[in-house]
Symmetry: D2
Subunit: 403 residues, 4 copies
Amino acid sequence: MVYDDSSTPPRRRTGLWFLGARGSVATTATLGALALARGQAPVTGLVSELPEVARAGLVGIGDLVIGGHDVGGSMLDRAHELAASGVVPAATVAALADDLAAVDARVRPGATGTADRATADRLQADLEEFRAAHDLERVVVVDLTSTEPPAPQAHTVGTLAELERRLDDGTAPLPPSSLYAYASFRAGCPVVCFTPSTGPRTPALEELAKTLHLPWAGRDGKTGETLLKATLAPMFATRALAVRSWSAFNILGGGDGRTLADPAAAASKTATKAMTVEAVLGYPVEGPVRIDHVADLGDWKTAWDHVTFEGFLGTRMRMQVTWEGCDSALAAPLVLDLARLVARAHEVGLAGPLGELGFFFKDPLGSTEHALAAQWQTLTRWCATLGDGAPDAGGAAASDGAA
Amino acid sequence: MVYDDSSTPPRRRTGLWFLGARGSVATTATLGALALARGQAPVTGLVSELPEVARAGLVGIGDLVIGGHDVGGSMLDRAHELAASGVVPAATVAALADDLAAVDARVRPGATGTADRATADRLQADLEEFRAAHDLERVVVVDLTSTEPPAPQAHTVGTLAELERRLDDGTAPLPPSSLYAYASFRAGCPVVCFTPSTGPRTPALEELAKTLHLPWAGRDGKTGETLLKATLAPMFATRALAVRSWSAFNILGGGDGRTLADPAAAASKTATKAMTVEAVLGYPVEGPVRIDHVADLGDWKTAWDHVTFEGFLGTRMRMQVTWEGCDSALAAPLVLDLARLVARAHEVGLAGPLGELGFFFKDPLGSTEHALAAQWQTLTRWCATLGDGAPDAGGAAASDGAA
Amino acid sequence: MVYDDSSTPPRRRTGLWFLGARGSVATTATLGALALARGQAPVTGLVSELPEVARAGLVGIGDLVIGGHDVGGSMLDRAHELAASGVVPAATVAALADDLAAVDARVRPGATGTADRATADRLQADLEEFRAAHDLERVVVVDLTSTEPPAPQAHTVGTLAELERRLDDGTAPLPPSSLYAYASFRAGCPVVCFTPSTGPRTPALEELAKTLHLPWAGRDGKTGETLLKATLAPMFATRALAVRSWSAFNILGGGDGRTLADPAAAASKTATKAMTVEAVLGYPVEGPVRIDHVADLGDWKTAWDHVTFEGFLGTRMRMQVTWEGCDSALAAPLVLDLARLVARAHEVGLAGPLGELGFFFKDPLGSTEHALAAQWQTLTRWCATLGDGAPDAGGAAASDGAA
Amino acid sequence: MVYDDSSTPPRRRTGLWFLGARGSVATTATLGALALARGQAPVTGLVSELPEVARAGLVGIGDLVIGGHDVGGSMLDRAHELAASGVVPAATVAALADDLAAVDARVRPGATGTADRATADRLQADLEEFRAAHDLERVVVVDLTSTEPPAPQAHTVGTLAELERRLDDGTAPLPPSSLYAYASFRAGCPVVCFTPSTGPRTPALEELAKTLHLPWAGRDGKTGETLLKATLAPMFATRALAVRSWSAFNILGGGDGRTLADPAAAASKTATKAMTVEAVLGYPVEGPVRIDHVADLGDWKTAWDHVTFEGFLGTRMRMQVTWEGCDSALAAPLVLDLARLVARAHEVGLAGPLGELGFFFKDPLGSTEHALAAQWQTLTRWCATLGDGAPDAGGAAASDGAA
């Protein structure tokens, strides 16, 4: 099935701004969006093209204008690397090299150092200029930067007023992901937290989003092992089988693997990876969750899960799963899905953490549901309500669609 | 959690009649029911003890009276074999040996030869005597006999009238499972088809069940690999990932393994095992489904599934699952669940194939849904409606509960 | 490590004639030989470049001249297919396209029909012309044609004289692989049986090889699952662990997978695959050996082996292995190794089945040893004796090297 | 095959002294030795009963007298625990309870605190009294205590004289395993290091063993994952396949799992586990080696190894192995094997680290060979030389058998 833009409603040009724009996921997503818009790629992997989701009245892929923040590198170099390791087709990179370079030209220097007022203003200005320059109805910011270590200090700033003071003072204890979130909200942009980093999840930033009536979604895209857990754990629950241990080992290379070889960064990731099983089952389950760097695997991740469980009359049984996936290929379409869905939520006037998007995340902010099938049902029902007010549904004003 | 009978409503003594009563599954189910009734076993594995299902107003485990048909052997011998291979605890067998012998004394000689009137009458009389002798409100018949080869001739008997004539003539082309179904319906008993054998699935027998307003359910209990398929295939579907191949290999020992080493019998089983993935995904998926006998595994079954799938921009990925389960331990509690649920359906006056029980079966008769989570939702909603008319709900007559 | 031809002895131009020259293995081997000769590929996978084997005084890769028999197709087309499925680098195919076309021009029409004198003469003439045209010291014939079903009739021809008569009569019950072997021997060429087909393994053909004092080697290259069995079974033996079952499942696509989807052809293959474990352990071990065709896997083969074993005081344990290999990439270097080693054996005057090459084969003709490490030791000791008379050893005549 | 004592030579009563006598391995080994001596168990798992090893002229199992050091607990309690978790048969424990209690009565309090002269003297006296009380020709000490963290300080004591002084001073920086080794050597006993702890591997203790002309062997029994590595790595080497990564994950419960959940202790273990692959292949191979505690697994250990490798023309392939073993059942027979072999080495007058026993160890002291098949060949050749001087060979004096 190839992406077909012919039936979409009046075009709503929408910005998609990647934090970490020259990384593997952002580059794959950009390449895919360009290929899809030209009808040169199938819609495989795009949840937003399934009828149950598409009915939400989403912006067309061809109406997305992509830009972003990053430091160093180039999207084209990254795309060639991805082609060399089999993540994207070399022919697609060759065919779209000019388009990719055009997107890359819109990438602005990102935040690296301390969280101060000047940097925040600069980031905000980048977003506002991007929106104006391309005549965009809105811009969705998606955080795809490297996973940060947990940032407990960020949570100590209890109010927006205090945060503003400390930004002025140059003492705001925000990690880069949170500074980006601040600038994004200030620019009137919804935010998607695709990593486990802190981002907008601090009291002061949540207050800011609320004040400005902006939606946001997170966190940590559910692409592999956790996807399996969210799928398999409910099977044990509804069959009344008692899970006794769930051990999870991940090996991966690439930039993500290098980042997660740092125990501090890995701590953020294993925390979100560990919550699913217990959240679904409702009781504690022992077992390690580990991420190890194996450079030779490149952008490919192999996960091995080993589960022991108990059945009737105490009989002990085992299940093992090996998942050999390509993280960028799994994540990239979800990024496009989220951008389209969050843009639609913004269009219809929704605000706050969008719990209905838990289907996409390891740690579903705004929701307590971790079972994939239940998340799917929540998502598709929500899409139906969003669709009722869609421009192509020809009727109610956008704000009617708000929950 | 231990089974607690204290809060159950006025007792409704219910018969549970096993076809193949001295086999591994029936013996494990019987032992488990006895242990549960005495509070000597946890309810692990019993779906009918989960609150979402228990609310249907089910008969207490302690109110089940068990009997059955079989040829040769003894339940106690079988129980000792099961204990030796680790399927059931030896201590439980020792503690319940007398009770098990009492059940075994109710087992009557089964059907082995041709399908004639005399045998049908004998089987029917066994059921009626059992019901009368134990003052039972109803008797649910569960087919746990060895898997038969497909029986295409049985489907050529187009009407009940023709079937009756051919039984009189001694020319009825019914396999034993269908003769049992005939006798069970004639005795006014609902039937559960826990194997892939033909059973009541012929035009004449379906007509008989309809005429007598009896419910029945099937077929082929979903205990291992197919349970995984019903769980995992929807994940690929809702993530828009294109499954390219799904190869499934099963090795098992025990009596079931010996039976399925016969290609004719295996044909029935692999047919039901193969349908799930394509039914969920909606497109053809290549890949073998095999069952091989490895005597050394005893009652344990190991399944290896290998799945290839395609994601964004055509990236190819793989998943493998190894399932090491004990078939009897997985099947036995489902048998008790089904007996309780079908008894309740009979009590409230339902008839025909109970599609709402698809959660339990590889080939869900009366339903086209194969995704486990969707089947779970259907089941639990149905249980809620059944419960509205339950005796312990104190009010409406049983027939009000009928859908 | 890149192949280095500088230190090789005086050149001995040697022919390498592939039966099935346009198949995946022959094309990969040809491409590899061309790349190695130009120093454009590393020697990874080439056993004959390990010092323990290279000391046998082998012909240089650059001195191999390749031709063969086949029907239809072209090596270049096949090479492009292999590049598309990731078996060989596309850049290598592009760089060597002309050379590959030159080899392809030497491919002659193969045998397809009945085994008669005229065909035998034609095949023989092809080999003799090839040797003369390229001024070759000798030509080694390697059978890489599709696996044939077992050919019991071929064994009923008890003597060479009888075979000659029946070839004259046009009633010789030889499968193509055996007719090729007849023609090869008649042309004075040693033969390598890389498939499980009958080839020279009939009384009459063995007599022919003996009469003409020609060496030959077989059979069925050991590239994946059987390689693992030959490696792992000795571990159980020397640790006194009792293997109770060994189940082996293979899924593969490509031409080989299509051929083996035919149960008759698969019978030849599963027979050679099944013998290793019992041969090493010395006692019968139950468990299926299966090969299934999954087109989506292309030239890649995945094997899953499941082993149960018993240890001290009867404790039961398990091992599973999953092997994800590319058959052509695994087989191709072994083909070059065998051609070089058999050429050397011919040079030093050896005749009959070369049991010392069992390291390479599932069914090691001329040897009863199946343990890989023992086969390696036999091979390397033999190579040392061959090397004693090697031209580069500066002295003794070739025939001195004969064992 | 059941152990048959009838053909053994004149009895040589031999002591077997376990450090950690009430642990799982020692208890399993003791139970097995008792059962074997009575002909109540098969010899499965006993390498020393294979003809190639038995020819060394080993002491009979029935001539072993067992004692040991430990703190707290009882062997019978431990045996019941092992029976409950399926490691040993409950019937065997019941049948041998009295014998086990008799062994337990010989267990003396072990070393727990600092390494001082008084403790060393006490441990030495325990061994001498044991030898005298039971009229033993010799006593072999086997260290089965919990794995210690690396003890770099122990290596700073450069000479025996300095060690003696510091023991007198009470400042000897020896971990318990080394203090036991000191006492054992002083008592004239050979030592087997079955754990990765320091034991006799310090300059001063090696000097002591040399001075007293005592043999010792180590270290860290090779029972599971490392056994697989030692078996599989040579396959890659002799096939010229380039291993690119080897990731190894172990999950286990039991006391060993608890000990190794301590990163300091695990460091000793992962160090010995990591060396095999690189030692066999001769080049560095990346990949994590991890041990995690999963209490639910009890005495069972599951290892998952994931290997990537490169073949001809750079083709990338993968192998995975899952090993589900029972550590005590795998280790216990090796302990008996080692006791018999080291006793024989002592009998024939050998001294120093016995590199010929590398077959049994992860870190083969006195040898650089890590390939299992090569270690097997070394072992069996050595056994042949030991057998030449065996009492039952009726000839040369014992000392003639020394290498």
